[in-house]
């Protein structure tokens, strides 16, 4: 039984093929941080047509309690069902916070849910702190060059949390949380899910590389990719990656995409060339060992995530770098 003073936090578990997405454990870490500021009980909410395996995985890894809601129609994700079912559960249990992954899936229903619940909704949260008795959520703005600190002026508050922003919450020796399984009916009126398929293939080569030289919009022309490959060529065990925009343009292949919708990598050395450092990209490379960034814009956000910063034009700098490198030992 929840104490009267205690608030309630919902974590919405994102999953695929009966497995929890890694972001779920980061959401748990975020919930744990909120709990330290205002005492709260945490419940992981799992929606699906079959939830047994998922609830076992989540409650055993986190030690948190779960409410598993089984809905026949939810063999495939459907925003309408998510919004209706979570809204009903929230009306019953009155959570103060609902924590969702800042992923294409999470963003698909978070804001709509907020309208139904008359909740505030803050997306892309990367950190939080206490300010005058309220929780202040930190998120990026303006290409990562500015942090905004946003508070909600009422509860409940829905937040979406940037993947990679919190260390996964996996306490040692946690006794498994309890699972409450419910079964509800919900038939969508306006949206029909038609299927899910893998259309682009990732291979492990980029994730296994010791060194990644990564290109962004700042490289300018496609021809300059040649320089990126030449730079990568001097490092043993290296691979070339890039930010989403270069994949969209067809300059690089999808398996080379690093970031939220691409690969999450953690090489020993990451060289970011002409990458601005928006949060979607950072989500894919924050675990890197040593980071060097080259960018013409001294205020580029990537420099906040770098061990060494080179403020130069990419093309010019890599040319000179390769020249200087070639001179060595002569």
């Amino acid at each position: 039984m929840r104490k009267a003073v205690q608030k309630l936090i919902f974590i919405i578990a994102e999953h695929h093929e009966n497995k929890a997405k890694s972001v779920v454990f980061e959401l748990a870490a975020c919930a744990d941080k909120i709990k330290r500021i205002c005492p709260a009980e945490i419940k992981v909410i799992i929606l699906g047509s079959e939830t047994k395996k998922l609830s076992f995985e989540i409650t055993h890894t986190t030690g948190l309690d779960a409410v598993a809601i089984e809905i026949n129609e939810l063999a495939l994700y459907n925003a309408e069902i998510y919004k209706t079912v979570i809204n009903n559960l929230a009306a019953e249990l009155s959570p103060s916070f609902i924590i969702i992954g800042h992923t294409p899936r999470g963003l698909d229903f978070a804001s709509g849910l907020a309208v139904g619940m008359k909740a505030a909704c803050i997306t892309g949260v990367e950190g939080l702190s206490e300010a005058e008795g309220k929780i202040c959520f930190k998120r990026q703005m303006f290409y990562g060059k500015i942090n905004a600190h946003i508070t909600a002026d009422s509860e409940p508050v829905i937040i979406t949390v940037q993947p990679g922003a919190f260390e996964p919450y996996k306490p040692d020796n946690a006794s498994p949380g309890r699972v409450e399984t419910r079964r509800v009916e919900c038939t969508p009126k306006f949206i029909r899910a038609k299927g899910i398929r893998r259309c682009k293939f990732q291979d492990s080569s980029i994730s296994e590389a010791k060194v990644i030289v990564s290109a962004g919009n700042g490289i300018g022309a496609k021809e300059n990719l040649d320089l990126i490959y030449r730079l990568a060529g001097i490092f043993p065990g290296s691979a070339v990656g890039g930010s989403r925009i270069l994949i969209d343009r067809g300059w690089l292949e999808y398996r080379q995409q690093i970031g939220l919708t691409g690969a999450q990598v953690a090489p020993e050395l990451y060289i970011a060339c002409g990458i601005s450092g928006a949060s979607q990209h950072l989500a894919g490379m924050r675990g890197s060992g040593f980071v060097v960034a080259i960018n013409r814009d001294p205020k580029a956000a990537i420099f906040n995530e770098s061990d060494v910063c080179v403020v130069e034009d990419i093309k010019k700098f890599i040319h000179v770098f390769l020249e200087e490198y070639g001179k060595r030992g002569i």
């Binding site: 703005m141 893998r198 040593f290």
Partner: protein, 265 residues
């Protein structure tokens, strides 16, 4: 172009955003940035949304395509650009607040316009490049009771014009597909198409076109909201040692650092 009766009205919501290489200067109260020195362009995601809508109009000539923007006076520039790209009419919801406008307020502005103006389809970008919230589209949809799918990479309207098939992108290269009844709102992922350049004849028309202007009612809005308490420069998460000197010197320094760390031999 497919002939036959295909009557449809589409609204595309666009936003102006500062260029990514801009310097953002925080005001004295740490509340917002100085907007003056910035130069603006159309949000990349919105350009893709507009291109998707234009591609529907290319196929079906009886499609009407309006473009709407909520923002200060210079939002008219991107509305004119959209007209230059081929939109029929522009609507500007004037809102010149020198502070953070939360997505509920922006969505409410769009919704108040939509209440008196029917559209079969509403397109927005999946997010704006400057705020990166990804909220305005889904909020506006829910406020008006429309079905919504976000991060759409492909769309096709059914021949009977009663539904739309969409594919959306998830992480890890997964694609989900849905069928939505119309009217509906979809938000478009950036980079899924090549937004066209304005044509000369359209630009001439756009320059003469009258843009309908509506004043936003921000104070009359009592929806739940969030406030921006302050803005700051992001803290450094790593050492951030900045190399100095000429290009040659910087290159030599970087080579030295990388060999000390044994990344190069």
């Amino acid at each position: 172009m497919v002939s036959g009766l295909f009557e449809m009205k589409i609204l595309v919501c666009v936003k102006q955003v500062p260029e990514s290489d801009s310097s953002f200067i925080i005001d004295n109260l740490q509340e917002w940035i100085y907007k003056e020195p910035l130069s603006y362009k159309m949000n990349r995601f919105d350009e893709s949304a507009l291109e998707e809508a234009l591609s529907i109009r290319d196929r079906y000539k009886s499609v009407g395509l309006d473009v709407l923007s909520v923002g200060p006076e210079n939002s008219k520039d991107i509305i004119r650009r959209a007209l230059g790209m081929g939109a029929d009419a522009g609507i500007h919801i004037f809102c010149d607040a020198d502070r953070y406008i939360n997505p509920f307020l922006t969505a409410s502005c769009i919704v108040s316009y939509m209440k008196d103006n029917y559209y079969d389809l509403i397109f927005t970008g999946a997010m704006s490049e400057d705020y990166m919230q990804g909220q305005v589209g889904p909020l506006a949809a829910e406020m008006t009771g429309l079905p919504c799918v976000s991060f759409v990479v492909k769309q096709e309207i059914s021949p009977d014009q009663k539904s739309i098939y969409v594919e959306r992108e998830l992480d890890g290269g997964l694609i989900e597909s849905f069928k939505l009844t119309l009217p509906a709102l979809i938000t478009i992922q950036g980079g899924i198409n090549k937004p066209r350049y304005p044509s000369l004849s359209n630009v001439l028309r756009a320059n003469r076109a009258e843009i309908r202007t509506i004043n936003a009612d921000l104070d009359g809005n009592t929806d739940p909201k969030q406030i921006n308490s302050r803005i700051t420069i992001p803290e450094k998460r790593r050492e951030g040692y900045v190399l100095s000197g000429s290009v040659q010197e910087k290159a030599a320094k970087l080579i030295r650092i990388l060999s000390q760390k044994a990344f190069i031999t």
